[in-house]
């Protein structure tokens, strides 16, 4: 049995009510500082990864984790290298060895790899951290529905703030505190670039959690010989990219205070990074060697504020330009 009567009128009223409430809510969120933000996942990564396989030598693939995501400013890149294309392939909380090997094995990638890595990231135990994303990329034609869904979702999420908002959760906080919570400090854009506004973040809490993490580490120096062996195992991948006209840049991104102190205890720069720099084919850039990169504060000890991103990006690209990374094109 189908319930009869007035369905046209019913749905017309529904459309009006829903449109009015959704628009009102979107405006309310915008007024409180909320911005559209895209959900980042392995399908979003795969879409960007496809852009990297364009056969162009003027493509710059940014590999790494959150540090380079927050420091990279796309507008500064476009101003500095107007004829070049950037592809953001960094993945939060991972070591990008898998992505480097994947790009090295892809004959359609001929560009420049910016490879953000900390010393510990070279250890083999971290090499598989991006495998899920790479597997998704390789299966992209098998998961065509999920890929299309991601594309559609990205288009919606990059336009509507409410799609990134956990309304019930926020309502619960608002009911308890009497005011609508501050917007999230992270915004992810359709091209996976990300902006961190530490001015609206709970910096003391973020800093505390980062420092607590450092306190969980065993702060003894790692074995430099074994570490170097692991790091140099990537040389064939770098050679493969260079053979197609590309370049690889190892970059050690800024960290500060307790974080940097702990990292120095485990992997002293002089005995790890500097040794690797003399042995690898890759161009190496350590932030400590460049005052123009080392001057930025890290609000949570591990990332620079995205407001410093344009200056950082310009300075970094100028260093690379001076070292000839963008020559031979």
């Amino acid at each position: 049995m189908v319930p009869r009567g007035s369905w046209g009128r019913t749905w017309l009223v529904v459309a009006v009510i829903v449109a009015a409430l959704v628009v009102r809510y979107e405006l309310f969120l915008r007024a409180h500082g909320y911005r559209p933000s895209v959900k980042d996942d392995e399908y979003a990564w795969s879409w960007e990864r496809m852009r990297a396989a364009d056969g162009s030598q003027r493509t710059v693939a940014w590999l790494g984790a959150s540090r380079i995501m927050l420091a990279f400013a796309p507008e500064a890149f476009t101003q500095t290298l107007p004829d070049w294309k950037y592809v953001q392939l960094a993945i939060d909380g991972t070591t990008p060895i898998g992505s480097l090997l994947d790009l090295a094995a892809d004959p359609d990638f001929r560009g420049v790899v910016i490879f953000d890595i900390s010393e510990l990231g070279f250890q083999r135990e971290h090499w598989s951290e991006q495998d899920k994303h790479i597997a998704t990329y390789r299966r992209r034609w098998r998961e065509v529905g999920a890929m299309l869904e991601r594309w559609l979702a990205t288009n919606v999420q990059s336009r509507l703030a409410l799609t990134a908002t956990r309304t019930m959760y926020l309502t619960g906080i608002a009911l308890r505190t009497g005011s609508w919570p501050a917007p999230p400090y992270l915004t992810t854009y359709a091209d996976r670039t990300r902006f961190a506004d530490y001015a609206i973040a709970d910096v003391p809490r973020l800093r505390k959690s980062r420092v607590a993490l450092v306190h969980e580490w065993v702060l003894t120096m790692r074995d430099p010989k074994a570490w170097l062996d692991d790091a140099l195992a990537l040389e064939p991948a770098i050679a493969a990219i260079e053979a197609r006209g590309g370049r690889v840049v190892y970059v050690r991104m800024p960290t500060c205070d307790e974080r940097w102190d702990a990292e120095e205890k485990m992997t002293p720069k002089a005995q790890f990074w500097d040794v690797l720099a003399t042995r690898t084919r890759a161009v190496t850039v350590h932030f400590k060697d460049y005052p123009q990169l080392a001057k930025f504060p890290c609000p949570d000890t591990s990332h620079i504020d995205s407001k410093d991103g344009p200056e950082f990006t310009r300075a970094f690209l100028e260093i690379l330009r001076a070292r000839g990374v963008f020559d031979r094109r």
């Binding site: 049995m1 009567g5 369905w7 046209g8 019913t10 009510i17 559609l152 919606v156 990134a164």
Partner: protein
């Protein structure tokens, strides 16, 4: 492709446009078939071949069966069809399970063997479409139905996208006749179909995924070694609500989508948490599977025609197999076994306790409904738990032996579960359609607006429907 995706929204708009275009009926049916294959291929294109295989084999088997009068030949054809379909199901769904079980048995007698990971991916919806094609062949074999006259109609019956990946398990006699003459939804069908789609998505996205799943995931987290008694009950009650809203939500949306195209699919849920007794529960929960198991397993086993003991054995067998159908794990078998015991217990109790008017009073009926619901929840523990260790931890905690730190800190997420049970009990003797028919249109509009607005307020949670894995 899931109903709660942007992709489905776009897909459905295109399907509606083509289906309601001024085109010949055969062209529109071919379009529906192509769209249905696209719907399936969106998950993993090569598995469409399996769907084709199942469709083609059973089409020819049923045709040959209908032409033959020789009993032996008909039986051989039936065995070919059953062998093919059950082999597909067996390989893709149960090969790993059988290997693990064998290894476990071998290990218990001192022979240690680690089964190779076969890396088999379970084709989505295979349990549903193989049961549909088996029912078609069995109906032809038992001469309950004639084979379909048109391959197109038959292929569309198997593949019709609203029911393809998670049911309802439709019989050929229910759907193929609807494909024989041109159909478009009238205004009432279209309006009600959209309402069902909105209700189904609301159940899935808002209640199941948005409110209840986080509670369930906390309590049933594999890393949790201890569970408090309150958490065990809260997590299990939340799962009772989640599994209903997830699966009934899918079925409701599927029925709605189909109705928007002018086709009626059978009901799959009828207020099951208001059931009084377990035979009543199974007439209300996953109705099309219960009916399938009754017609093609329980009755062929002898049903209730050979005395109480045989009836009880048949009930147990049916429910154990029903449990195994849900998933390749012994926990599902135990879940089915518990329901078998409940059904047997109910039959015994009905023989021992004479019906008196006192059992018809509202208080007694509410008591029986709550007792049924409680025992159903107890069985859900084995359905949800991923290991027996976890299941017994939860069960012990439910009976007072709880330990650890509370994971569920607020009772608020359970409000929808209590509301759901109350609604099911209140609507036990009616239907959703009857309720909506009596509801004035402005009230309908307000309720539907709430559903749709809530869908906007719970974005970004993209859990697959639970029954996709079956």
């Amino acid at each position: 492709m899931q109903f709660n995706t942007y992709l489905f929204g776009c897909f459905f708009l295109v399907v509606l446009a083509v289906h309601h275009a001024p085109l010949p009926w055969t062209v529109r049916k071919i379009a529906l078939l192509v769209f249905s294959y696209a719907f399936y291929a969106a998950w993993d294109p090569p598995f469409v071949l399996l769907l084709w295989g199942s469709t083609v084999v059973d089409w020819f088997v049923a045709k040959a069966m209908a032409r033959s009068e020789r009993k032996g030949r008909r039986k051989a054809l039936l065995l070919i069809s059953l062998g093919f379909n059950l082999s597909l199901l067996g390989y893709f769904k149960y090969a790993g399970f059988l290997a693990r079980t064998f290894a476990s048995i071998a290990g218990s007698v001192g022979f240690h063997w680690t089964p190779t990971d076969l890396g088999i991916v379970l084709p989505i919806g295979i349990s549903f479409y193989t049961f549909m094609t088996i029912s078609y062949v069995l109906d032809v074999y038992l001469r309950r139905a004639a084979p379909a006259r048109s391959f197109l109609d038959y292929a569309l019956y198997v593949t019709f996208f609203p029911h393809l990946v998670s049911g309802p398990i439709v019989r050929a006699t229910e759907l193929i006749p609807q494909f024989e003459s041109p159909r478009r939804a009238n205004a009432d069908q279209f309006g009600w179909g959209l309402a069902l789609l909105a209700l189904g998505l609301f159940e899935k996205v808002v209640i199941a995924d948005g409110i209840l799943a986080p509670v369930v995931d906390k309590v049933y987290a594999p890393v949790l070694e201890h569970v408090t008694s309150t958490d065990a009950w809260a997590g299990t009650l939340a799962f009772a609500g989640q599994i209903f809203c997830d699966f009934a939500g899918y079925s409701t949306a599927a029925i709605g989508v189909s109705l928007c195209l002018g086709f009626a699919l059978p009901d799959n849920f009828r207020f099951p948490y208001g059931a009084i007794g377990f035979s009543d529960f199974w007439r209300r929960w996953h109705i099309t599977l219960s009916a399938w198991l009754r017609d093609y397993l329980y009755i062929p086993l002898g049903g209730n025609r050979h005395g109480p003991t045989r009836t009880h054995v048949n009930l147990m067998l049916t429910m154990l197999i029903g449990g195994l159908w849900h998933g390749a794990s012994w926990t599902f078998v135990v879940w089915g076994g518990l329901h078998g015991l409940y059904l047997v217990g109910e039959r015994v109790a009905k023989r021992l306790v004479q019906p008196t008017p006192v059992w018809e009073t509202p208080f007694a009926r509410a008591f029986l409904a709550l007792l049924t619901f409680t025992l159903v929840c107890f069985a859900w523990v084995f359905f949800r738990a991923t290991t027996f260790t976890q299941a017994f931890t939860i069960v012990r905690a439910m009976f007072g032996d709880g330990q650890g730190v509370a994971q569920v800190t607020s009772p608020l997420p359970l409000i929808p579960v209590f509301a759901l049970v109350a609604a099911h009990m209140a609507l036990h003797r009616t239907t959703l359609e009857a309720v909506v028919e009596r509801t004035p249109w402005p009230t309908r509009a307000i309720v539907l607006s709430i559903f749709v607005v809530c869908l906007f307020l719970f974005p970004g949670i993209d859990r697959a429907f639970i029954y996709f894995q079956f």
